[in-house]
């Protein structure tokens, strides 16, 4: 049995077997692994008196090796000790050995139980961390929501005042001697009340959607509108402050984004700027928000003239819990949330070097570039470029065409649209012709079929010939004309 002695010195439990499956050897590690005393181990003559394997049929597994007298290694498998019902995770190795008594096998148990336990523990801890992280994010949302409440109250107050005023008018008309005399006024008053209530409803729906995290869908948004909403927050939050908010944005700078998330990203930067300016009591406090187009991105820049960001904090700035606010003033999650939002929009956030104050930029891909980034997913679909600087129009077409075999690329800027025409194989262009005639010539030159978006009143002003799609762009008309041209 001299050949088995080699196994006395290895750190894996090893059992020697003869060709009939009888135990003819075990090393000290086998005693430790099986948690059996020498006497107890000696009482067991076959493997099935020691343990059962869960994932493999042990007899068959060994028999396969006996036929070829070859080395065999199992997948990771669970075994259960018969004497105490405990379980271990092992990799089994069956090594053929020629001994002075004939052919034998060494069955080695590579114990993976600890790795398995650690992996399970690791997974549990990661899950716990994820839960905790989500809880903190939710807490931060509530905190943001609290701050947004001021802005929301302000927003609701306007339509509420309008609705109240008109309902009083309505009451007066109804109580007048001949209400029917004021029929037109009654109708317009009722319409105003209805519109005001609808606006309030929209605000409440947006707030619910913000809380429930169900706002992943991206739509065409005008950065100018988003910025104005965020700056309104400053006025509502700090009504008596001297902070001057200067906005320099372009009405045609559209992005494909979740409007609430994009607003949250900008609002977080504005909020930080306001708090820094208030805390530092900066003289003539000012926040400048502007948009530009640079390298296929709409750049939203938020700069203040406050104390700026310390060198120490700069490297950790976008990691969670980084803050230079006083304890209790901030969670340190605002910029990390901004970063997450920008990632989900295929964009980025950066802190620029500035001599005075903090200067952040948010880079959203232009709607055309966003479509280009997405275009790899379905090369079979027809590409339709829709050029209109009204985000609502683009969203209207998006809704109509979302379930069809057509990919739409919305564009609010004629020069970016021209660039997209040169970069992508556009099958059809739907164009609002009320851009400058030079730009329109460039579009016409692309040779892609053209459909003009216009109205009954303006159709005579179309500068050159093409198919016309008239307002209100019903789903039926849109589908028909696209089918006709494509």
């Amino acid at each position: 049995m001299s050949n088995f002695e080699t196994f006395d010195h290895i750190f894996d439990a090893t059992i020697g077997l003869d060709l009939k499956g009888n135990i003819v050897y075990f090393n000290n590690q086998a005693l430790i692994f099986f948690k059996l005393s020498l006497r107890q181990f000696k009482q067991r003559n076959r493997l099935n008196e020691l343990f059962t394997a869960k994932e493999i049929d042990l007899n068959q597994w060994i028999s396969e090796s006996l036929l070829t007298f070859s080395l065999k290694v199992s997948e990771e498998t669970h075994i259960r000790f018969l004497h105490d019902e405990t379980e271990c995770t092992v990799i089994l190795k069956l090594i053929p050995i020629e001994t002075e008594h004939g052919n034998r096998y060494a069955l080695i148990f590579q114990d993976k139980t600890l790795e398995h336990t650690l992996h399970t523990k690791y997974k549990e801890q990661v899950d716990l961390l994820k839960d905790t992280h989500q809880q903190i994010i939710n807490a931060d949302k509530l905190s943001t929501l609290g701050q947004l409440t001021a802005s929301i109250s302000h927003e609701i107050n306007n339509p509420l005042t309008i609705a109240c005023g008109h309902s009083e008018l309505l009451n007066d008309f109804i109580n007048s001697p001949d209400p029917m005399e004021h029929l037109d006024l009654l109708k317009s008053t009722a319409k105003n009340i209805s519109e005001s209530l609808e606006r309030m409803n929209k605000i409440v729906i947006n707030m619910k959607s913000f809380l429930n995290d169900q706002e992943e869908a991206k739509t065409y948004c005008n950065t100018q509108t988003i910025i104005e909403n965020a700056s309104r927050w400053v006025k509502a939050q700090y009504p008596s402050s001297e902070i001057e908010v200067k906005i320099n944005s372009h009405p045609n700078h559209l992005i494909l984004a979740n409007p609430l998330k994009a607003e949250q990203a900008i609002l977080n930067l504005v909020k930080n700027a306001c708090e820094a300016l208030m805390d530092s009591q900066t003289a003539s406090p000012r926040i400048v928000i502007q948009t530009t187009i640079k390298q296929n991105h709409v750049i939203v820049s938020v700069a203040d003239n406050g104390p700026g960001i310390s060198e120490q904090l700069r490297s950790e700035l976008f990691k969670p819990f980084s803050t230079n606010k006083r304890a209790g003033k901030g969670t340190g999650l605002g910029l990390s949330i901004c970063s997450k939002i920008m990632n989900s929009h295929k964009g980025s956030i950066k802190l620029l070097d500035s001599q005075k104050g903090a200067h952040f930029i948010l880079a959203f891909p232009t709607t055309e570039h966003y479509s280009l980034l997405q275009s790899g997913t379905d090369n079979q679909a027809k590409k339709v470029l829709i050029i209109d600087n009204d985000a609502e129009i683009l969203n209207h077409f998006d809704q109509i065409l979302k379930d069809t075999q057509v990919n739409i690329i919305g564009s609010g800027d004629i020069s970016l649209a021209t660039k997209a025409l040169n970069q992508m194989n556009i099958d059809l262009v739907l164009l609002n012709p009320h851009f400058s005639s030079d730009s329109l010539e460039a579009i016409k030159a692309s040779k892609a079929p053209l459909i003009f978006l216009t109205s009954e009143e303006l159709k005579s002003q179309i500068p050159f010939e093409g198919e016309l799609l008239l307002k209100p762009y019903s789903a039926k008309d849109v589908n028909n004309i696209i089918a006709k041209v494509l």
């Binding site: 006395d8 000290n28 020498l38 006497r39 600890l114």
Partner: protein, 153 residues
């Protein structure tokens, strides 16, 4: 698994440290690192489990302390098995004073863990011991050469 409880008691130039529970991946010896002394006495009597993560932490801890004398006492079988297997579990100059060894009483049909002093072991052979109940001679219930291997370290 129960977290390791560490009890310390300083007497003159000796610190007595007693462990209860598991020396595993959750163990934290950092509180012991700050306890500096010339002489250490570690009592392993109530250690229920030790695994390779725990051993790694133990060796890391030993590397951080300076000592003149170090004694391991009341080492249960699981500790002896690790000492025999893992280089560095016991530092040069450290003395293993006492430990438990597995014996079996045929007449009572029961296992007995006998407390032995290292000084009483000759030539890595298990000393003759009698059953505390029937006084019959006990049978050593492990591989002698492997079990007493630590005595040569």
């Amino acid at each position: 698994m129960k977290k390791l409880k560490i009890e310390k008691e300083q007497k003159a130039d000796t610190v007595f440290i007693k462990f209860t529970g598991s020396i595993d991946e959750d163990v934290d010896f950092s509180e012991l690192v700050s306890t500096q002394s010339e002489k250490y006495v570690f009592d392993f009597d109530h250690v229920a489990l030790i695994n390779s993560c725990g051993i790694r932490e133990w060796i890391k801890y030993l590397d951080q302390i300076k000592f003149k004398d170090m004694i391991y006492k009341n080492c249960p079988q699981i500790i002896i098995e690790q000492i025999n297997m893992v280089h560095g579990f016991i530092k040069p100059g450290c003395k293993l004073q006492s430990f438990y060894a597995p014996y079996f009483c045929e007449s009572c049909d029961k296992e007995v863990k006998v407390h032995l002093l290292s000084a009483s072991i000759r030539s890595k052979k298990a000393p003759a011991e009698n059953c505390p109940d029937c006084n019959e001679q006990l049978e050593f219930d492990a591989l002698e050469a492997s079990y007493f291997n630590f005595l040569g370290k």
